[in-house]
């Protein structure tokens, strides 16, 4: 989508972040939820933590469960060029429609959102990522896309280090070493922007009669893009 201003919108309207008025939480789930759960015997097996270990691959936002090992920016650069650049671009700009690593700098991103112009096409590690351990988690489990989960721990740390360096994440210089203690300390630029949703944010009324005066301002699309006829169905078959 292009960076165009859509038109006559009043953008000064209240944003959705509503103050939370919840009472203090008990920090425990409601055990009453299990009251009606059936009592079951003799189904399934117990399992040891050691047996689960190979599957216990989730790294929390705060670094919990990050593995031993380490990686460097320079080692990461080599891996990136060989296994990542074809999709994410030599400079992290994205290629063939695959995601960018480097988006708009966070202040520019924020300004675009405030101005009502396109911000989301320019998401990247330097704006919409809250925590560096999440990046390590994502890369280690999901990338490279064609062979997910095949990077060694050190390779994953290295390429994590390199893409953060590419996206000019503060503190991740050319000599930075990524491991389970250094990653949680990194301040991702977008982190301060995150807010938590507070429930429904619109309040339409169920008006039935004479709901407004004047004429509806109706916007249509100028031209259909690639309509094809499939039987009686008019839909866009783009594949």
């Amino acid at each position: 989508m292009s960076k165009s201003k859509m038109s006559n919108w009043s953008l000064g309207l209240a944003a959705a972040a509503v103050a939370l008025t919840l009472s203090a939480n008990a920090f425990a789930f409601d055990a009453a939820a299990l009251k009606s759960a059936p009592k079951v015997q003799g189904v399934g097996m117990n399992i040891t933590d050691a047996a689960i270990k190979p599957w216990d691959i989730s790294y929390f936002y705060d670094g919990t469960n990050l593995p031993d090992g380490k990686g460097t920016v320079s080692a990461g650069e080599k891996i990136y060029q060989e296994q990542c650049a074809m999709c994410h671009g030599d400079f992290g700009e994205g290629a063939h429609g695959y995601p960018k690593m480097v988006g708009d700098p966070v202040d520019q991103f924020e300004a675009s959102a405030k101005a009502g112009v396109d911000a989301v096409s320019n998401r990247g590690l330097n704006n919409t990522w809250g925590n560096a351990p999440t990046l390590m988690d994502m890369i280690h489990r999901h990338m490279p896309f064609y062979a997910p989960g095949t990077l060694t721990t050190d390779e994953a740390y290295s390429v994590t280090c390199y893409v953060m360096n590419l996206a000019s994440i503060p503190g991740v210089g050319d000599d930075f070493v990524c491991d389970k203690t250094s990653l949680p300390k990194i301040k991702m630029p977008g982190e301060p922007l995150y807010v938590t949703n507070s429930g429904p944010d619109t309040a339409n009324q169920r008006c039935m009669k004479d709901c407004y005066k004047g004429t509806p301002f109706v916007v249509e699309k100028a031209a259909s893009i690639g309509n094809v006829s499939v039987g009686k169905v008019k839909a866009k078959d783009t594949q």
Binding site: F27, D56, T215
Partner: protein
């Protein structure tokens, strides 16, 4: 019946002028519609056959009348008629780089009930659909539990079962329409939602078996596909990574969660997570992890890639909103809709679907005059919790331009917003959870177009 009919009124329907299009090539048009558009139709009881053309050619037998048909099991797993070959899932090529991390859409324009046939359920992959061998597959439940456990698929089928009909919706449903009209097809405006009967084990059954620590406030599921997709699910008492509470509306949905192995009475389809998936009714679909292999109970969210980068909303104040989990009340008219042309004036039945992630649909109202006047539609039984509800309303079309739309209210009293209301709070970069009232414009030619009303 006529009391419940909605009709268009020709008098006063006129074009008030055309403004030139902006550089995004939107054609802007003001359409003045008669305020009395939703008046009760006074269809006086006509004599049978009044005003209709007459057929005079002697009837001929169709070819099928003089031949033998196919034998049983000539199609061991039955397929739709060859004349229905246009009723398929479709995707939008330019939306994603490939079809592996991509989405397809359910053809609601061709569906007549509340259930989506399994072969038409929308697809959303982050690393493609995989064929998991159920005889080798396991589910592990661990973390803050007394006893970590492992289950085979057969173990899960042996446990007390739970069956319920629920919709499943990608929160990106409608996303292409935030900035303006883009898709002239219901399939692409609302097709990232499907509705099925789901069968499996309730999560609470498994929670009881492993003895979840009362201090647990979150859990997450993880898949065994290439994305090993994981999403954090809040329970009572959950706070986010900044210590901010998750609203109570979101912390009890897990009670209805299940580990599913069946969809509409048969095994899950590979596209939808075979052999087992997590399913959390009412929540955005991404959280209902497919190809489920692991559930972990914790006291904090993971804040995964999906949670920090994908399923977030960039707000007009520049903030990034996380944990918008529920698909709020939504509805759309699927007949008439842009995928069909009306065949002359006269009687039609407006039909549509409505759904809410907060519970049952309470009312659906329909307007044919651009939202000035509304009439309550008939809800078709069954009306179920977090499930698609069908609605109908007889419609007398006078052959003039009409702006038709539906508005759902759910049992919490939440009323589906207009696009203007939604844009006021969410701006243009929100991407997800676009549940605003959908307007279709019926042209004099009978053609139906996707339009947006900007000022109300």
């Amino acid at each position: 019946m006529s009391e419940n009919m909605i009709n268009t009124v020709p008098e006063g329907t006129k074009k008030a002028g055309e403004a030139s299009s902006d550089r995004r090539k939107f054609l802007r048009k003001s359409v003045a519609l008669a305020a009395g558009g939703a008046a009760i139709a006074a269809t006086s009881a006509a004599n049978a056959g009044d005003g209709l053309k007459t057929w005079t050619t002697p009837l001929k037998n169709e070819p099928t009348r003089h031949m033998l048909g196919r034998g049983v099991v000539s199609v061991p797993y039955g397929l739709p008629s060859k004349y229905e070959s246009g009723v398929v899932r479709r995707n939008v090529g330019w939306l994603t780089a490939d079809t592996i991390a991509s989405i397809s859409f359910t053809p609601w324009q061709d569906l007549h009930g509340i259930i989506t046939p399994n072969g038409l359920h929308f697809e959303r992959y982050h690393a493609g659909a995989v064929d998991v061998d159920p005889s080798k597959h396991h589910l592990v439940v661990h973390g803050m539990v007394k006893q970590p456990m492992i289950f085979t698929v057969d173990d899960l089928k042996r446990l007390p079962s739970h069956t319920a009909i629920h919709f499943l919706e990608c929160p990106a449903n409608g996303a292409m329409e935030w900035r303006g009209v883009q898709m002239d097809s219901l399939q692409f405006t609302h097709g990232m939602m499907s509705c099925s009967e789901w069968t499996g084990v309730k999560l609470t059954t498994l929670m009881e078996m492993v003895g979840v620590d009362p201090k647990a406030t979150w859990f997450y599921g993880e898949g065994t596909d290439g994305s090993a997709l994981q999403r954090s699910v809040p329970m009572e008492g959950a706070v986010d990574q900044h210590g901010r509470p998750i609203p109570p509306e979101y912390t009890n949905h897990y009670r209805d969660a299940m580990v599913c192995y069946a969809q509409n009475g048969e095994a899950l389809r590979p596209e939808n997570g075979y052999p087992i998936r997590l399913f959390i009714p009412g929540f955005e679909a991404n959280i209902s992890t497919k190809y489920l292999r692991r559930i972990m109970f914790t006291d904090k969210p993971l804040v995964t890639y999906q949670e920090t980068r994908h399923y977030i909303e960039v707000l007009p104040n520049g903030m990034i909103r996380q944990y918008d989990l529920v698909n709020e009340a939504n509805s759309v008219i699927n007949y008439p809709c842009p995928d069909f042309k009306l065949n002359g004036k006269g009687t039609y039945e407006i039909r549509g679907i409505a759904w809410s992630g907060y519970g049952k649909i309470a009312h659906v109202d329909v307007s044919v005059d651009g939202g000035k006047n509304w009439k309550q539609a008939n809800l078709v039984e069954p009306v179920l919790n977090k499930c698609v509800t069908k609605f109908t309303l007889p419609f007398e079309w006078d052959g003039e331009e009409a702006l038709i739309m539906s508005r759902a209210t759910d049992e919490t009293g939440y009323v589906q917003p207009t696009l203007k209301q939604l844009r006021e709070v969410r701006g243009f970069n929100s991407i997800y959870h676009k549940n605003s009232i959908q307007v279709w414009k019926i042209e004099k030619t009978g053609e139906v177009k996707n339009v947006q009303i900007e000022n109300v």
